[in-house]
């Protein structure tokens, strides 16, 4: 199979890129390196600049400032058809007047390749739809169109494949299946995938590396586990899953840990997980990491006492509790239903505990709700 451009290969580098539309800055001084061969996700709420970034990589928008490189080649101001980059569009953008076969052959033919048969057949087999070659796009289901859009892009063996919310239009079950399939195809073809999404689960399932974007900037970049277990900002802590963020003050040291005072109770936070600027912190703990017990039970680790269950919802695999603490904050606790003990009930007095290693600390001046409300909107 012929490559879209054999000379232009390598890491994608975005250097100090800014994109403004009038007064609005969609992407703000973005610098990012995406290693060759990786599955990279740009994750963020709508309007965070992720799609604009993707369109600049594709050549459909021109940066106001900065430059974009693939390997040693500067592609900042080249036309879309001059780049070794292909896109899977959000609505797939299959050509309605062409057959599936001709849709897939489109890019090959434009590059002057005469014998497209083998390449088209091969990619149709890869997406497991060889029997649909002579159909028109409207005759295909959403999931099939999605795969053809993918086939149409990867048949060109681009240096970079861009996916713009590729699974957004599919139902949940199909989305899950396609997530696994996309990941498999990426490993199979070895092309760099850059995936734009607002769905944190989708990003975490597929990507090796995720960059969380907010208001035109990258908030944090790392592996899914990194971002989830050790978020650096309240936005990341709330946008990726859910977090309890409790105001506190660093009170002392205990080996590798800070001792933090939260409303009169002491908890420990590992220093490597602290992103505090000074003694004022937001102590963070994920709801599923917390153990919940009737008040009075003796427990080790980080312990917070004095909670009262204000709401309990049984959802099968787990029970989700809202626990009101003495300082009037509601904490979320997800308890696996795996111990045969009947769930606690609304009004019960409880003690919360967790392993200190699961705690993270954020700058105490941050908005504890940053990122949580946008998340709720998108779902």
């Amino acid at each position: 199979m012929a490559d879209a451009s054999s000379s232009t290969r390598g890491d994608l580098r975005i250097v100090n890129v800014t994109k403004s539309f009038g007064d609005f800055t969609a992407v703000d001084d973005l610098t990012l390196t995406i290693p060759e061969g990786s599955f990279f996700a740009l994750l963020g709420p709508s309007g965070c600049g992720k799609t604009t970034t993707l369109r600049m990589i594709a050549g459909l928008e021109e940066p106001t400032q900065g430059s974009i490189h693939i390997g040693s080649t500067d592609i900042t101001h080249t036309r879309p058809y001059q780049r070794p980059v292909n896109t899977v569009f959000q609505n797939y953008a299959l050509f309605p007047h062409l057959s599936i076969y001709e849709n897939i052959a489109f890019g090959l033919r434009r590059r002057g390749i005469k014998d497209v048969n083998e390449a088209v057949d091969k990619v149709l087999n890869l997406v497991e739809l060889p029997h649909l070659a002579q159909r028109k796009p409207v005759q295909l289901s959403g999931g099939q169109q999605q795969r053809i859009a993918l086939a149409r892009a990867i048949v060109n063996r681009p240096a970079l494949l861009l996916l713009d919310e590729p699974l957004g239009a599919l139902d949940l079950k199909l989305r899950r299946q396609m997530q696994i399939e996309l990941k498999w195809i990426q490993t199979e073809v070895g092309i760099t995938f850059v995936h734009v999404t607002h769905d944190q689960e989708e990003a975490m399932t597929m990507a090796d590396t995720i960059a969380v974007m907010n208001e035109g900037k990258v908030e944090q970049m790392g592996t899914p586990a990194d971002l989830y277990d050790n978020p650096k900002t309240a936005f990341v802590a709330n946008f990726l899953g859910q977090s309890n963020l409790i105001e506190g003050r660093i009170d002392g040291n205990d080996g590798d840990n800070f001792v933090v005072d939260v409303f009169g109770q002491k908890i420990k936070i590992n220093k490597s997980r602290s992103h505090a600027k000074d003694s004022s912190v937001l102590a963070g703990i994920r709801p599923e990491k917390i153990r919940i017990h009737p008040a009075g039970t003796a427990m080790s680790g980080n312990v917070l006492t004095g909670g009262v269950i204000s709401d309990a919802s049984y959802i099968g695999v787990s029970t989700q509790y809202q626990v009101e603490m003495p300082w009037k904050q509601e904490l979320m606790v997800f308890e696996q239903n795996d111990d045969g003990v009947p769930p606690l009930e609304k009004g019960d007095a409880v003690t919360l505990s967790w392993e200190p290693v699961f705690t993270f600390a954020l700058d105490g001046r941050e908005d504890a709700f940053a990122g949580s409300e946008v998340h709720a909107d998108e779902e």
């Binding site: 896109t87 569009f89 953008a93 309605p96 489109f106 434009r110 028109k136 060109n156």
Partner: protein, 262 residues
């Protein structure tokens, strides 16, 4: 009681039958009288004959007039469709100074009374020293057809997803290839529709043509002039034939687009 109930159930059907009767009685009348053995005048039914259909050029000059109309129609259609499509793309796809003004101005010829347009075009041609005849008629027809072409094609362009063109560019098609392989094929049904509309407007036009044609006789002008002495049944034959041709094109177009969609 039962009658009321029947009406309530079938009201929409009754209404439909009445509506179509109203619409198609004139056409049916024209068609029926194309079989009238009426000689020179076709106002009174005098007996059935197939002679008119066997010899549609039988009446003096009717086919000369028809030929003129077809020639004017074809040239005007090609010119108006070409120019109108270019204007539609400019208005539908590009931002430029004066775009919204142009959008408004393009509607004005459709709103101007035809008698006024016809009279002032005649005055203009005479002032320019151009004698009424074939080419002034063509120029006038192109002028009033352009607006309709622009409106029709622009609607089609507006419904075209710009991401399809972006996808083409993303798949290594340069601007020209994108236009030829994606944009044009997708807008083509709109252009074809606009061309049909332009032809029927041109073929049908009497008022503007009458002012600017001089000695040139088009089919509508022939019928109008003939009406003073009696319209020959051959006019009905040609009129009916045009109706069935249009019907055939519409049905064929529907079938083709339905097959394409499948």
């Amino acid at each position: 009681m039962r009658v009321t109930w029947w009406f309530r159930k079938n009201l929409i059907r009754v209404y439909m039958v009445l509506g179509f009767t109203y619409l198609f009685i004139p056409v049916a009348y024209t068609f029926a009288f194309s079989f009238n053995n009426g000689g020179k005048s076709n106002l009174v039914w005098k007996g059935f004959t197939l002679g008119n259909w066997q010899n549609p050029c039988g009446a003096p000059d009717v086919c000369v007039a028809l030929g003129n109309s077809i020639r004017v129609g074809l040239i005007s259609t090609v010119a108006a469709t070409f120019l109108g499509t270019l204007i539609a793309f400019a208005l539908g796809r590009h931002q430029f100074k004066g775009r919204s003004t142009t959008n408004t101005l393009i509607f004005l010829p459709m709103a101007t009374p035809e008698v006024v347009l016809g009279a002032s075009l005649l005055a203009m041609f005479l002032n320019l020293g151009i004698n009424p005849g074939f080419w002034p008629v063509v120029i006038a027809h192109v002028m009033f057809c352009i607006s309709f072409v622009v409106v029709t094609v622009k609607a089609r362009i507006a419904s075209l997803d710009p991401r399809l063109e972006q996808a083409a560019m993303d798949l290594y098609a340069n601007e020209f290839e994108t236009f030829r392989k994606v944009t044009l094929p997708l807008v083509a049904p709109g252009i074809a529709g606009a061309a049909l509309l332009a032809f029927s407007l041109s073929f049908d036009d009497f008022i503007i043509t009458n002012f600017n044609s001089g000695t040139l006789t088009t089919f509508p002008k022939f019928v109008y002039v003939a009406s003073a002495r009696g319209i020959p049944p051959q006019a009905n034959v040609i009129g009916s034939a045009m109706f069935f041709l249009a019907l055939f094109i519409v049905i064929a177009g529907q079938l083709v687009s339905r097959r394409k969609a499948r």
